[in-house]
Symmetry: D2
């Protein structure tokens, strides 16, 4: 693994894996996807093959290919390309980790196996305690729970800023920031990165009132889609709609978002000024979603 | 129910119900308890007969007596005395609500019955929507979950400040404040009210760095006791230790905190400067806990 | 508590609490209810004020009145009237237990408080171990889980037949019988008691093939209503339909069964020969449900 | 996939995957394992690469090798070798299924992906309904839940004996048999197959009293080890102890059973006459576990 030149900070998009209508990976649009994140959303870090990327629905061979494509396309454009290498089989995780190092990824992330698992829940702050002694290359964690006692105590341990502590609950990012998050990883940053950067900027200049207003706008959208049923399939539909890049359907066992969902989501995005009619010009929504 | 003169704000202590060694209610120390909260902890609102007060372990007759004693002792000293009237039987809730009005309590709070319950989880922001049409005297809610999307959307609805939106997760109060909480209800405010008021004050003057430091101090304590096993019994032991007012054991099915717990908690409180040796002068800890 | 003359055995109906349309208890039909159970369903034991009876939705005073009415109406007709006295407040459980003894109930049953509860799950077979040393009047338990390792080990301990071990999962009664249950408590025995007695009889004469067939018939009905949404409200609607005795609506927070549910359930009962057109003669279904 | 000559019936051992001390697969003892199952335990069917076999902790390549070894060693000795091919990635499941057919396995079994999953729980009896129209080669299912309403309704549908309905909760096998199971799959059949066959035989000749006694003996053992903490690691230790064939440690994230566990389990097995001193003659228990 290459030494990290700088700490991961700011927003990290948990990338989707674009697919063709028959469920094969559509590598051809990943270059366009990189440009869209950087230019349109102001997001320069990606988290590849995670939950949003359907990493665990891909074969090991596919995960390697997807990782390679992001590293290749992101060169000189993205700050950091982090590859998720978690798998139920630790042997496969190790293989993916070695591969990520070989191709020059900026980092790896890993979830522990979860079919067999330890009998006791371990909290993040306990894992963090002394971890660089065990894993010298350890750089930080993505915290995707709302237990801010645990997250806060991770931050409390991080007094020398030795770790990147990335918050992973997009809809309440502000609560992670106030508790000391150094960045954030999430699926909504694919299409709401620009809006979310406004939260980061307002927070940075201590304008909490504006930060909260931006957060509420984003919450209104998430709250709306959560009630309709919101997951990776729906994220693919929204990203296709907003970016114009076809993300395709999810792979089974997920089911494609319904047309009804997409119509409702589009209307909500427009009502919140997250999507302009100009953005949609020339797009055949029926075809691309 | 008396009309509320002013919105409930700031800290609200979820009061313990003091008991004698054989599990009967010790009404005699409630006056002293009121003075301690006001003078030593700077807390002028109480939430009586809730979880912390073992309300559901008391008989209806006992709940009435406890409510009366707090209203009586709190007169001209406390800002608001809120009585929790939730019960599995709605008939009993109604009886308790009428009683609270008769004795001049400042408000009631209620949890829905939870043995039989609706098939679908309803979110707080959905409950809040239009509630003053259905319950004209509705004043606000205590939100004791870490789902800040839901809480945020409650705040988002509250643009006319028509509701008191009280956050109930002490160990991450700051995340509730940044999301727009107008106050907080919790069991730790019995003995950490003064420390917690420092968070409120720092937040008010936009000194987020200090607010976070105060929050971390409190988290260190809560994190410590949570790992030892922390509930109402342990809160009684800690409050006895810190305030010097005997809270007694909890009522079955809860078990008294162990001496080992209390010793560890006392050591931690001292190490965090939450408890001075002077505080403990002349107290027979072995006897009072 | 009166000494039990004989062990509780066979079927025990978990009784419904009949209510008027406005949610008050309809004591006037309990006598008729007793006669129906004995004569039409062949059920001579009742379990009063349990979940099926909405015991925890009643006030303590109502629970006493309901218990008295069942004891009075059941005299010389029922074998055993067991009163459930569980409550969140142990003081109230104790009051109800004393009352049950005073009115001459044949036994009490109790669930442990469940708002505050022990930290570790305790299995029934552990509770049973040595219990008569602690509670000399202990007679047995109602086991309402599908964990038949636990239930089997209760039976394994019961080699001197000192306990009544009653199985409480109606839809798989046969599995409880083969594991050694000495009887059964359930809500379906109100209206399927006669059919269920056929299982008991076939099992007794070792005709397992018939026992299984009877069990499957009952499963077809339960499977059908479970998919529609099945609880106490729906049980009240079915019992009203089958017995002709008006059970009324449930008390809030439960909602009355829909007309659609009742129509579907009635059609299913007829298709399974659990309800004949003759049974329904002269009943105004629209009015009585 | 070869056409199944006969329905799968009787006991099926969910096989362990023998490993060396450093966590590599120990293929060399699988032949001996086959002979042990057939000759010492009277078990002639195996279920390979399931939970007990740590299938999901193996790489795809390892799963193929393990499957091949069981098919090869089982030829002319075992009745049926069933390969579990479930994986989080359906692509990988498909690859494993094709491979199983190529090597001449007698059948495959599969769990659905469980990281992403459908929003609604589907019951087994609903899955079974009309399944042979969708999957003409479908042969049956392993039911590993204690919900015998669902299992019973599967049996109820199986009136033409078109399916093998195998029960998978070893500790309550008798309840599955009475509900109509046609066989059983489990980890305890590796070392308690002979004892369990006594249940099957007693049940077959309608000697329910003996069947229940045999079941209770097995329950006493399982109940004992469950309280100590019982999983695949512990099963490996017990199988090593009883069979004398070294199963080795589990692969991470599981941890090897403690020596204390093995000592307690051995003592219990002896006290139940499940293990004789003669069985242990010449074994260096310290070394082999």
């Amino acid at each position: 693994m290459a030494t990290l030149k700088k700490k991961l900070q700011g927003l990290v998009a948990a990338t989707l894996t674009p697919m063709t209508e028959n469920g094969e990976i559509n590598f051809s649009v990943i270059g366009q996807y990189v440009d869209y994140l950087v230019k349109e959303q102001g997001v320069k870090n990606v988290f590849v093959n995670g939950t949003t990327g359907e990493g665990l629905s891909l074969s090991i061979s596919e995960r390697r290919q997807v990782a390679e494509e992001w590293v290749t396309q992101g060169r000189n454009k993205l700050d950091q390309v982090v590859i998720h290498v978690g798998a139920l089989s630790l042997k496969e995780s190790q293989e993916l980790a070695r591969h990520a190092a070989e191709i020059g990824a900026d980092g790896i992330a890993v979830i522990a196996p979860f079919f067999f698992k330890p009998w006791n829940k371990v909290r993040a702050e306990e894992v963090l305690d002394g971890i660089q002694d065990k894993i010298p290359s350890f750089q930080g964690l993505k915290f995707s729970d709302t237990d801010l006692l645990d997250f806060g105590q991770c931050v409390d341990q991080n007094h020398q800023q030795q770790f990147a502590l990335l918050f992973g609950v997009d809809e309440q990012l502000l609560s992670g920031l106030v508790m000391g998050a150094t960045g954030a990883v999430g699926s909504t940053y694919n299409y709401l990165g620009k809006k979310t950067n406004q939260i980061l900027e307002a927070f940075e200049r201590k304008d909490f009132s504006s930060a909260l207003n931006y957060q509420f706008c984003i919450q209104r959208f998430i709250n709306f889609v959560v009630k309709l049923g919101f997951g990776v399939a729906q994220t693919k539909a929204i990203m296709t709609l907003v970016s114009g890049i076809p993300m395709g359907p999810p792979r089974l066992p997920l089911q494609k978002a319904t047309r009804e969902f997409t119509d409702h989501a589009a209307a909500k995005l427009k009502s919140l000024d997250f999507l302009s009619t100009a953005d949609l010009k020339g797009r055949n929504l029926g075809a691309c979603i």
